[in-house]
Amino acid sequence: MTSTTTSSHLGALLMAPVNALMRVVDIPLRGLQKSTGIGGMAAFFLAPNMLIFGIFVLLPLFINIVYSTTGGTAFFLSERSFVGTEQYQRLFTCTNYLDPMSCQEDAFWTAVGNTFWFVVLQVALMILVSLVTALILNRDLIGRSFWRAVFFFPVLLSPVVVGLIWKWILQRQGLLNFILYEIGNVTPYTWLTDRNWTFIATIGVSIWAHMGLYTLILLAGLQAIPKDLYEAAEMDGTKPARVFWRITLPLLAPNLLVVVVLALIKAVQIFDEVYVLTGGGPGTSTLYLTQYIYETGFASALRNPGLAAAASILMGLVLVVLTLMQLGLGRKNENKGKR
């Protein structure tokens, strides 16, 4: 009893300055609420966040748009000349968009094409692999926690480390060739200089690196499905495939949607691990959009920040569309749930 009283006294003592401060702050806040109403108060409290968002998101976006309307190689805006939409025109000057070599900026359209195919194939395979892994990990396996950790571990790695690990495995004198030679006396193959294998490698490596996160999301969705539905299906003698199509998949749809959209956005932004693994080669077969922007803006012998900014604005538009798609589908699902 005595100790409770002592601690409550101590609490009151510690809170005293806070309370005093609150009383001081309360006076202008009451005044503000009277003059601006509840809406004004919401704006007041949101202002710090909006300020940070404005400085770190909107301002750079605005600056990027301005850059995309300027030309030259200088980085300071004051040293750059206004060229209007010239950078966009340059990106879109093309005889046939399906043949990058007919375009003025052939590297841009090659990167767009590569990114498109990468997104289509990687996202489809990512969903499939993550779903299968989640279904397996949802079963009563021996050492289930260990396996979950194993699949999640690559997510914790830096993309550069991921790229280096796979480079050491896939290079001519790498681990894969060593194993193939030891097992089957197979002549070492240059996986990273073959156009087709390299493209496949970038897809495989990115799936390996990111599937852990998506598996975890799907696993959470699987565990949220009520067990009694499965018990009822079992009592009815429903076949496992039918259970999957009629119970698991429909109830997993909201999680799948999140995974699809997240995977799509991540795939469009692919850069780090591929840059380390292949450098965009052989030729330009694994040159993706983010690398094109990086090289145009920063790495080439004579940089063109304006062109890089224009390309990044276009890429940003694609990401906006994908995000709106996510929001739209998310709301649709929500409304379905309410009905």
Binding site: D106, G283, A299, S300, A301, L302, R303
Partner: protein
């Protein structure tokens, strides 16, 4: 009273920190071989002799120098001093040391020959000095040639003769025949030997000429028939630099075309594993030239401590320091007095390295006039980048060599236009 003591302590700490920053000189440095260790040792000695100046040596990868430093400089930042290879291209960012160094005459006499390589056209600025003069050239794996029973081609052998001999060695020893670094600078040497001239009458880049087209066509053919390894060239996109040194060090190459800066690297890593020799540059119809170049230590004009920077540059540019640096790193010196006096005692027991350095010194005599002009030409890096990008795509099977020629010309023209905006 207590508050006053705390404030006084904080002020003292702040003042001492500021004082430390005032004397700091940060050097951004990259290494091809052992020069990072030598530099670290020399920096230590400098600080002992000059206790008021704190030199911080940042050892970075070459890619940082190539890709990140230019961006820092464009933004008005960067280190106080840097070791760079894009010396002319970035010359607008270098500090004019002329009013700051102890004896500008010493600098003019000893480093004047390469001063134009690192200053804006038309100025008499002292920007820094060459830490090494380099020359591109070949290395042959003598042991593999002997094992294959193929004689090493002679000193005036052509690129065709080297390609044929290396192919025989490769077929016999199940290795790669030849490789050349993925670099426009490296590829320029054979192009010049075939008669190429990049510089137009107006000083701007000229369209690719017959000499350039001839060698590039041969090079693509040699890669297709296996005389040249394509691994290095297709292992990246764009103008990214890649060296093929590891393949040579691992005994996987009969002939490797790179340059004098590799001597220390090869001597250290190959050791006694096999015998190798420097061959100089193979000949073409027009010349047997290598491409000169090198790395320069330059002062950056955005430094807050120009006096300290000049003191550091003065110390490192001394004849005795340059001599010691060259002897320990096995680099060809850029100081005229050191070259003229001769007697460099390269610190290596490796007879192959010593012979290679002698070979490179000899090879400087056959360097063509055009080759000597290119390091000081503003558009060199632009041309190199366009060539690497398009030849790389051709080797990867993305375009025909004729299309690559057109693209190289268009890329260069576009870059010249961009630079003028």
């Amino acid at each position: 009273m207590q508050m006053k003591s705390i404030l006084a302590g904080a002020a003292l700490a702040l003042m001492s920190t500021t004082a430390a920053f005032a004397g700091d000189v940060r050097i951004m440095w990259y290494s091809d071989g052992v020069e990072g260790d030598v530099m670290k040792d020399l920096v230590g000695r400098f600080m002992k002799e000059n206790p008021g100046i704190n030199v911080i040596l940042d050892n970075v990868a070459y890619s940082v120098i190539k890709e990140q430093l230019p961006v820092q400089l464009e933004a008005g930042n960067g280190p106080d001093i840097a070791r760079v290879t894009a010396i002319k291209d970035l010359s607008k960012h270098w500090l004019d040391l002329r009013p700051l160094v102890k004896d500008a005459k010493y600098w003019d006499e000893n480093y004047g020959a390469q001063a134009d390589w690192m200053r804006p056209d038309g100025s008499n600025q002292i920007s820094g000095f060459m830490t090494q003069i380099t020359l591109t050239g070949g290395f042959a794996n003598k042991t593999l040639f002997e094992q294959a029973g193929v004689p090493l081609p002679g000193p005036k052998a052509t690129w065709e003769e080297w390609a044929a001999a290396s192919k025989k060695v490769a077929d016999s020893q199940k290795i790669f025949a030849m490789a050349i670094d993925r670099s426009g600078h490296r590829l320029t040497a054979p192009l010049l030997s075939y008669g190429a001239n990049y510089v137009g009458k107006d000083g701007k880049p000229a369209p690719l000429d017959k000499g350039a087209k001839d060698f590039m066509t041969k090079f693509v053919g040699w890669v297709a028939d296996g005389s040249f390894s394509k691994d290095v060239w297709v292992s990246a996109a764009g103008s990214t630099y890649r060296a093929a040194a590891d393949d040579f060090i691992n005994g996987q190459l009969a002939f490797y075309y790179s340059g004098s800066w590799q001597v220390a690297n090869l001597a250290t890593k190959i050791g006694n594993n096999f015998d190798w020799v420097a061959t100089g540059s193979p000949c073409g119809p027009a010349a047997c030239t290598g491409m000169p170049g090198g790395a320069a230590l330059v002062a950056v004009k955005y430094t807050k401590n120009p006096k300290e920077v000049a003191a550091v540059m003065d110390w490192f540019a001394q004849e005795k320091i340059v001599k010691e640096f060259s002897e320990r790193t096995l680099f060809l010196p850029g100081n005229k007095s050191v070259v003229d006096k001769g007697g460099l005692d390269f610190k290596t027991n490796n007879a192959q390295a010593k012979a290679a350095l002698t070979k490179y010194v000899e090879a400087t005599k056959s360097t063509s006039e055009t080759a000597l002009k290119l390091p000081g030409w503003r558009w060199s890096d632009t041309v190199y980048a366009a060539i690497v990008t398009r030849v790389g795509q051709t080797l990867a099977g993305e375009m025909k060599i004729e299309d690559a020629f057109a693209r190289i010309d268009a890329d260069i023209a576009q870059k010249v236009k961009d630079a003028g905006q």
